[in-house]
């Protein structure tokens, strides 16, 4: 009997093509969008030349090395940073007002920057000018003490790019991975839809089919277990396909801990389905309402674990730490985080266990709610 129900449920689920499609598309589409949105952040090569103006005059000419610097950064080619227009102050102000330049540079005692609005480009221009001022000062100080410094290779030393910092571990990981972590969490929660699906067809008050099934002689235990298992299989397949897409096709790096990650996704899906089942059975509202509870609930829980605004994760763990410990999406996100930082550790294991326990409790709870129901009328 068990096998029959199992096979039957699989067929029913596969028949609901719309839901199947969208729950599969959801992580793949979002993953693709995330990837597109963040692809530029990590690639510092694509760069638009910044239009600026420089006010001509005596002060500009007398600033040692400044004109050379400007020439260097505005030279056409792959390394061009600025597009410079040399002009008068009035003309420069006009250009700025009309938004034809991002800012203009006027040399008073030192170069000064006039802008409309702050932005990444302006920060870049400012760093170029800062570097000029600081290096000029350094060169001046050195020449004071050692007038022969230029012959001794001062300029080479100034031009050299040495780094005094060395990253430990994996500090070259993309900052955007947190979004993918929460995406996985949300994916597992969407298993709730399948969980709801499971009970829709075996609860009398949820559908006609449910009414017929509930008066059949089959034991609720078997029904629940078989349907749950069917939903679980489908959900696992969807999650693995999505993970495959994210890791292999999109190339997002989750570290070398594929095994623990898959285990986490499995337990997460189990809990997601259990949550859906529980909501389906324990609440007294229309099916539509339950669906929206699952959908919006997953969204809100994902938000609390930092999906849209990263800070939320830290705000919650500092102010309401209990919430972070029972929010399934948080548990999944934190477990992935800890795989990244500590590799398989007690924190990871704790989270997986809590997830498992939540799933089991809700699963048993669902069974308890399903037993011995009588209706006065439906």
């Amino acid at each position: 009997m068990f096998g029959h129900i199992f096979k039957n449920r699989i067929q029913i689920i596969l028949h609901d093509r719309v839901l199947l499609f969208w729950t599969l598309i959801f992580p793949i589409a979002l993953g693709t969008f995330f990837n597109l949105a963040f692809s530029n952040l990590s690639s510092s090569t694509s760069f638009e030349v910044i239009p600026v103006a420089v006010v001509e005059g005596e002060k500009l000419d007398s600033a040692v090395g400044l004109k050379d610097l400007f020439e260097m950064v505005s030279k056409k080619g792959n390394n061009q940073l600025l597009e410079i227009t040399y002009t008068t102050k009035e003309k420069a102000e006009d250009l700025l007002k009309n938004d034809e330049i991002d800012g203009y540079i006027e040399v008073k005692d030192d170069p000064e920057l006039y802008i409309n609005n702050n932005s990444m480009s302006i920060t870049m221009v400012k760093s170029i000018l800062d570097e000029y001022r600081q290096q000029s000062s350094t060169i001046e100080n050195i020449l004071k003490k050692n007038p022969n410094a230029l012959e001794e290779g001062l300029m080479e030393k100034i031009m050299k790019n040495t780094s005094y910092f060395e990253a430990q571990d994996r500090s070259d990981i993309d900052a955007s991975v947190i979004y993918f972590y929460t995406l996985i969490g949300m994916m597992c929660m969407y298993g709730g839809f399948w969980g709801l699906h499971t009970v829709e067809d075996s609860e009398a008050n949820l559908s006609k089919r449910g009414a017929r099934v509930s008066i059949s002689p089959i034991s609720k235990q078997k029904m629940l277990l078989a349907s749950f298992l069917a939903a679980f299989c489908i959900q696992i397949i969807e999650v693995f396909v999505a993970l495959f897409y994210i890791i292999i096709v999109l190339g997002v790096d989750f570290g070398n801990h594929l095994g623990p990650l898959l285990l986490l996704a499995t337990v997460g899906s189990f809990t997601g389905i259990a949550i859906g089942t529980f909501i389906g059975v324990a609440t007294k509202c229309k099916v539509d309402t339950k669906i929206t509870i699952i959908s919006m609930g997953s969204l809100f829980l994902s938000f609390l674990s930092g999906m849209m605004v990263i800070d939320m994760k830290y705000i919650i763990s500092e102010n309401v730490p209990i919430l972070a410990k029972i929010n399934p999406v948080s548990l999944i996100t934190d477990a992935i985080y800890s795989l990244y930082y500590y590799s398989v550790s007690s924190r990871y294991v704790t989270n997986v266990l809590i997830l498992l326990v939540i799933g089991v409790i809700l699963g048993l709870g669902s069974y308890w709610f399903m037993r011995r129901k009588t209706y006065d009328n439906i």
Binding site: I115, S119, Q134, S137, T162, M296, Y341
Partner: protein, 383 residues
């Protein structure tokens, strides 16, 4: 107008659910925009740094700490080796710098020693800060190589690094609030789209139930009139939702919302909300499966908002992404919001551009609306 009145009875039956949604989303909007990263200038954000000094307290390290204090937020934590990862994990710091033993001696001996760093995966500002910190060591190193002793070198380097370019043109006071308003309205575009699709879809499901639909079709009220009344109902409701978010922005940001830019931004969001309504109407006509509706609303709203720059500012998105985003109404809405507050003078040229973009936005709405009409006509014919 019986259908119009009836619309609100249907809404009433869903009221607890709708109110829950709106409240949850208002809460999300509130928390998201009052967090510290709610601004569009990533480089101004200073990372929280933890400095661990395994070397002696030399002039080199002491001055490094002084400079570090200037460019970042030093966090005063006494942590042991094992607890560093915890500090990163819990977001207490986003960047950890360890000065290894004997660093100063190796530095003077020109052995080019390196400081060990660890970074949280979700920190952008740490990378930028590292560039600034590198300058300190590079400058000190040049001084020592050219014959100065360490104390002199560090103090000269510190005074060099104090020279920063003066920047003119921003009125600091208004700027912070303007940035927050822009962030709020960009973020809220996601929420409004998701909310409107879900609620409109929910209500339309009632009208599209097979039996109800057929009975309505044979009623003496023309199909057109029915549709118009339903739309009017949707419209009224959407305006109410828009109002609640607009009011919240006034509560949060006060007077700036009544400046010309503030009013323009509100007008812009009103037009956007109408476009979202037309999208929701299209989806509600096509999709009747409630579960699919939730998934679709999430994918569309979240996906298009990401691509259009609601979470990651438009200036950080790649040109390919932006190229795709141009086909999304969200993109134009966000572009306009950014531009409205980037205006320095409110001249005809700027206003023309802003109203043109609003026009483009409006055209999106018209397009979706016409599309819906065509599709529903087809559906009726097939019945």
């Amino acid at each position: 107008m019986i259908i119009f009145k009836n619309y609100f009875q249907i809404v009433k039956s869903y009221l607890p659910l709708i109110v829950t949604y709106v409240v949850i989303f208002l809460a999300i909007a509130y928390f998201a925009t009052s967090s510290s990263t709610a601004s569009t200038s990533y480089t101004d954000a200073k990372p929280k740094v933890l400095l661990i000094n395994n070397d002696q307290n030399t002039t080199l390290t002491k001055n490094f700490e002084k400079y570090l204090k200037k460019v970042s937020d030093i966090v005063d934590l006494k942590v042991e080796e094992e607890k560093i990862k915890d500090a990163l994990f819990f977001g207490k710091v986003s960047y950890v710098i360890t000065i290894p033993e004997n660093f100063t001696n190796d530095f003077i001996a020109l052995k080019n020693p390196k400081l060990e760093t660890e970074q949280a995966p979700d920190s952008y500002s740490a990378t930028y800060t590292e560039l600034l910190l590198n300058k300190y060591f590079k400058t000190v190193s040049i001084y020592t190589e050219m014959g100065h002793d360490l104390d002199e070198a560090t103090s000269l380097a510190m005074s060099d690094l104090e020279k920063v370019t003066s920047v003119h043109g921003i009125e600091k006071s208004d700027l912070v609030n303007a940035e927050k308003v822009v962030y709020y309205y960009n973020f809220v575009s996601y929420i409004l789209l998701a909310l409107i699709i879900v609620i409109v879809g929910m209500v339309m499901k009632s009208y599209n139930t097979e039996s109800v639909r057929k009975r309505n079709l044979v009623s003496p009220i023309s199909y057109r009139s029915q549709n118009r009344q339903i739309l009017l109902g949707h419209f009224t409701f959407t305006v109410l939702i828009w109002l609640s978010f607009a009011v919240m922005s006034i509560v949060l940001y006060g007077g700036i919302m009544f400046s010309p830019q503030g009013l323009l931004v509100m007008l812009n969001s009103f037009i956007a909300v109408m476009v979202f309504l037309s999208i929701a109407f299209l989806i509600g006509t096509l999709i009747h499966n409630e579960e699919a509706l939730s998934s679709i609303s999430n994918v569309l709203a979240l996906g298009s908002s990401f691509l259009a720059g609601a979470f990651v500012p438009q200036e950080f998105l790649g040109s390919f992404t932006l190229g795709i985003a141009r086909f999304l109404p969200n993109y134009w809405y966000i572009k306009n919001t950014n531009e409205i507050f980037a205006m320095t003078t409110i001249g005809t040229k700027e206003l023309t551009q802003i109203f043109t973009t609003m026009g483009i936005l409006f055209l999106f709405g018209v397009f979706f609306f016409i599309l819906t009409n065509i599709i529903s006509k087809r559906k009726r014919q097939i019945a």
